[in-house]
């Protein structure tokens, strides 16, 4: 098998996102991650299928030189599910926006997670409807002023991480559009995860929601307001790497190492592989001003996947059943002869 490079995943179609849109960086990370994944798992290019819904972010399949399916708004996850279950040999990547996946597509999203279908979902969360020109989305902040909320929204946003964990997701990671390195890392981990992997990419929409994530994305504050979780490592963050997370009074708390008697050993060690929904929920749910936003792979646990389950059951029944062709079937059970 020839080694694939990022060029192999670039299609001949012109990329039509606005200059400065956060989606460009995510596409680049994907085009860089897939050759590595292919190398690691021995996948040929024709094995990839990239699926999407409708939205700016959902244009992604056109830019990937793979089999692609630009479906309808909200239904990408259902289409992906069908592809993967029909042919588990294919490797399915999905691009969808916060509106696409969490508004109209919310149900398919949580059901794919529940079933643990082995697909890789990149959730482009720019907290706005881009393609339809700037209405609020289910992740827009409370009070957001948008075209459909001229006086501010009065609804609480979803936190995709909590929702994924609430649906018993086996893999959830979060990152910023611009962090190419972390994104490649996350995408690779997602590809290696056997089950439904959700990657929330916090993207910027320069046109309709510029600075969507600036409270944490701004390089000046990023080290203090985010913590990158890595398997087996302590949850340490901060410009000076002197802050950390501990669990006290049934909650997570941010502390400064060296202050109030906290030592490095007190800091929690991240275990994405542990099936600890309570703690992982607490981590996914962290936000300012008291707590940093968690980035990286927050949860990555093993569990049976639906697509394998279906395939194995089919194999099993095939072995056990006496009906091996339609003629058998037609003659099975109660029949009678007329002469």
């Amino acid at each position: 098998m020839a080694t694939l490079t990022f060029k192999d995943f670039k299609s001949d179609q012109e990329v039509r996102w606005c200059p400065g849109c956060g989606d460009h960086a995510v596409l680049a990370a994907l085009q860089r991650a897939l050759p590595k994944v292919s190398q690691a798992l021995g996948y040929e290019k024709e094995r990839y299928v990239v699926v999407s819904g409708i939205g700016c972010s959902s244009r992604l399949p056109y830019y990937m030189d793979t089999y692609g399916f630009h479906s309808i708004h909200g239904r990408a996850t259902a289409v992906s599910t069908g592809i993967k279950v029909a042919n588990p040999w294919l490797t399915v990547w999905q691009a969808c926006g916060d509106g696409d996946a969490l508004a109209i597509g919310g149900n398919h999203f949580i059901h794919a997670i529940r079933r643990n279908i082995d697909i890789n979902i990149i959730l482009f969360n720019n907290r706005i409807y881009g393609l339809t020109k700037g209405q609020y989305s289910p992740t827009s902040k409370f009070g957001a002023i948008t075209k459909t909320s001229p006086y501010g929204t009065v609804e609480h946003p979803f936190d995709p991480g909590s929702l994924v964990l609430g649906a018993k997701g086996t893999f959830f990671a979060r990152s910023l559009d611009v962090d190419l390195k972390l994104n490649e890392e996350i995408m690779t981990a997602a590809a290696l995860h056997d089950g439904c992997s959700v990657m929330e990419m916090l993207t910027n929409c320069v046109i309709f929601n510029d600075g969507a994530h600036k409270e944490i994305a701004d390089p000046a504050v990023r080290p203090d307001r985010t913590v990158v979780l890595r398997q087996g490592e302590r949850m340490i963050f901060g410009k000076n790497n002197d802050k950390g997370l501990v669990f006290e009074d049934n909650r997570i708390k941010a502390v400064t190492i060296g202050e109030d008697g906290y030592k490095e050993e007190d800091i929690l060690i991240h275990d994405a592989h542990a099936n600890n929904l309570g703690l992982q929920m607490a981590l996914a749910d962290m936000k300012g001003p008291d707590l940093p936003v968690a980035l990286g792979v927050i949860r990555d646990v093993k569990d049976i996947t639906y697509d394998d389950g279906v395939r194995d059951q089919v194999k099993d029944v095939m072995r056990k059943s006496k009906i091996h062709c339609v003629d058998d079937l037609l003659r099975s059970g109660s029949t009678w002869e007329i002469k």
Binding site: Q13, E44, K45, E46, R47, V49, V51, I54, P61, Y62, D65, T66, Y67, G68, F69, H70, S71, I72, R75, A78, V79, S80, T81, G82, I83, K84, V85, A86, N87, W89, L90, N107, H108, H111, V310, Q313, V314, D316, V317, M318, K320, S321, K322, I323, H324, C325, V326, D327, L329, L330, R331, G333, S334, T335, W336, E337, I338, K339
Partner: protein, 615 residues
């Protein structure tokens, strides 16, 4: 008393009782017994939406009608020769279906004051109140007799009471000279492994019912319906429409070499198709019970893209939910079979009742110019072929196909001569083959100039990477909002569907191919219309009959056929939907209509009246 055994051409029996009385089973067993005895037959289960509707209420009555005959049986029959009414409510709900000569068999134990009142009777003289006092009433203390029959057999009281239906079935078998073997073998099949102790008692109570009927003085005659000579020799089975659809799809999967994928959400009366397919994993079939109907069709579209024979099954409201995704299937030009087992609407309507009211939705219920072939099944057994050919068209013409069935067909059953798969044609999808030249790109919407069908390149095929989707594209598969391209693609998608007419059978005329009146039908009304037209022709009337299995496109010779008749009468279980479609497709003819929207099949009688009005 020595009963006179009267030979008769056909009889109709209607079993009715509480939802918990097991009438569906009783009816099926009677039907199967008759089938094995060589009769032709047709069944019509008619049950309420409630699982166990309150005991003794009219709304809770569950019925099962079976029509057996020594000649071709086309319908479950308008009126019955024997009504079995397990309680007053069952009598109240069904007395109107008794022929003037009918027998009425009741369980007198359930005709208590309380239950008589509960059924809405004003007096205790229920027969008089219903105007059926002149029928042959066979009052039998079935509950008491069942208890007696099973006394000391070790079963608890509840289980004993559940056997009432077996006692009743025994009685019915006596009246119609049916042997008990089949029912006995059913009992053995059901209980032998897990509850061997149940075999004896069940067989006993059946036999006791039979003997009781033989001994009482209330049954003036018994009847014999001889084997149907009209049935071709061969191996037969009884099959419901839902089962036949499932099997027809499995057959298409085998003939195309593509695994079957069914993405569906349960809904009455279509659920049984999904349930049936869920069993046949040994044929490589995958069923995905989706979170809703939209996911049902979208997973199927995904599976189709991935190269499976993809199917989604549903009924009325669920079919509505698939509207948007149907458009996606049209745009991506992927094969897909969408089965709609129609039920009484609108909205939730009357879920367990039958209707043909989804036709215009099937034809037009999508945004944009969005043509989809529509096929309709015409009898329970015909559902097999209808499903097979729906799949064949979908796969060979790269298009979603809507297969319309009806509650009446889905739940109803008839004997079916088992075919051999070798007699069915191969299914050959237009797979993209070969290797592309250096720099050449696969063109997903380039068409065969004859059929207008594009090629199918399935993910995994090296070098054929391409994108499909819901946006308008050009032949190369590149997004295009060019006005001329849009018109071209709209026209080509329509032409692709229209050209299917080249590969479907011509419309057949039953009766003279020209004359005064052509009666036109489609779908599950076939048997009733056929019976009515036959009846009329026997009376010497100048009537012919043309039944449409293929609706979009219409058979090529439709215009020819129509042009040879003075009048056309379109009969359907809706307010005139096929007629509206015909008026658009063939505006040169005048169409009269005969319609019924009652959640019930036509009565042959109603059709005869409608025909008589025309001529």
């Amino acid at each position: 008393m020595q009963h006179k055994v009267i030979d008769t051409k056909d009889v109709v029996i209607r079993f009715a009782g509480d939802s918990g009385d097991g009438m569906q089973l009783t009816g099926s067993l009677f039907a199967n017994t008759s089938a094995i005895a060589g009769n032709d037959l047709s069944t019509f289960p008619d049950y309420p939406a409630e699982i166990r509707a309150p005991h003794g209420t009219v709304s809770g009555v569950s019925g099962f009608q079976v029509h057996i005959g020594s000649t071709k049986v086309n319908t479950p029959g308008d009126y019955c020769d024997l009504l079995v009414a397990m309680n007053p409510a069952a009598l109240e709900a069904n007395a109107k279906w008794c022929k003037p000569t009918a027998m009425i068999l009741i369980d007198t134990d359930s005709f208590t004051d309380e239950l008589i009142k509960k059924a809405g009777f004003k007096t205790n003289n229920v027969f008089l109140e219903l105007g059926v006092e002149d029928r042959i009433i066979i009052p039998s203390p079935i509950t008491t007799l069942t208890k007696e029959s099973l006394k000391g057999c070790g079963m608890d009281q509840k289980s004993i009471l559940k056997c009432k239906n077996m006692f009743t079935l025994g009685m019915a078998c006596f009246i119609y000279s049916r042997p008990l073997e089949y029912v006995n073998s059913y009992i053995e099949g059901k209980f032998a492994k897990k509850h061997p102790e149940m075999v004896g008692p069940n067989e006993k109570v059946l036999k006791d019912g039979y003997n009781y009927a033989a001994n009482i003085q209330l049954i003036p005659n018994t009847y014999m319906v001889k084997p149907a000579k009209s049935l071709e020799p061969g191996l037969y089975r009884n099959i419901t429409g839902n089962q036949a659809i499932a099997w027809g799809l499995l057959a298409a999967s085998e003939k195309s070499g593509l695994p079957l994928f069914c993405g569906s959400y349960p809904i009455t009366p279509a659920t049984a198709i999904l349930e049936e397919l869920a069993i046949y994993k040994s044929l490589g079939c995958k069923t995905l019970q989706a979170e809703d109907e939209i996911a049902g069709i979208c997973t199927a579209i995904g599976a189709s893209f991935a190269g499976n024979l993809a199917v989604t099954t549903t009924s009325g409201p669920g079919f509505s939910l698939k509207s948007e995704a149907l458009g996606l299937a049209v745009m991506t030009e992927l094969p897909l079979v969408v089965v709609d087992v129609q039920r009484a609407g609108p909205s939730t309507g009357i879920p367990t009742k039958t209707e043909q009211t989804d036709l215009l939705q099937a034809l037009y219920g999508r945004n944009g110019e969005c043509p989809i072939p529509v096929i309709a099944a015409h009898s329970p057994a015909n559902c097999f072929n209808a499903a097979f050919y729906a799949a064949k068209i979908a796969l060979e013409h790269m298009t979603p196909v809507i297969l319309l069935s009806e509650g009446f067909l889905g739940n109803g059953s008839e004997p079916w001569r088992i075919p051999t798969m070798a007699d069915y044609p191969e299914i050959k999808p237009p797979f993209a083959r070969g290797v592309l030249k250096e720099g050449e790109r696969f063109q997903p919407f380039k068409r065969d100039p004859e059929t207008m069908v594009p090629q199918w390149a399935i993910p995994g095929q090296k070098g054929f990477e391409h994108r499909v989707g819901g946006l308008e594209k050009n032949h190369e598969g590149v997004l295009s909002s060019d006005p001329a391209n849009h018109q071209t693609m709209v026209n080509e998608r329509a032409a692709k569907v229209a050209k299917i007419a080249d590969s479907i059978p011509e419309l057949k005329v039953d009766g003279p191919d020209s004359g005064k009146l052509l009666v036109v039908g489609w779908g599950g009304t076939y048997g009733h219309i056929k019976s009515a037209v036959d009846e009329e022709r026997e009376e010497g009337k100048n009537v012919s009959f043309a039944h449409f299995d293929y609706i979009n496109p219409l058979p090529k010779n439709t215009k020819d056929v129509f042009s040879k008749f003075e009048k056309i009468l379109v009969c359907e279980l809706n307010s005139g939907q096929f007629c509206a479609y015909l008026r658009d497709c063939l505006p040169d003819f005048k169409y009269d209509k005969c319609n019924k929207v009652q959640g019930q099949p036509f009565l042959v009688k109603e059709l005869v009246e409608a025909i008589n009005k025309e001529i």
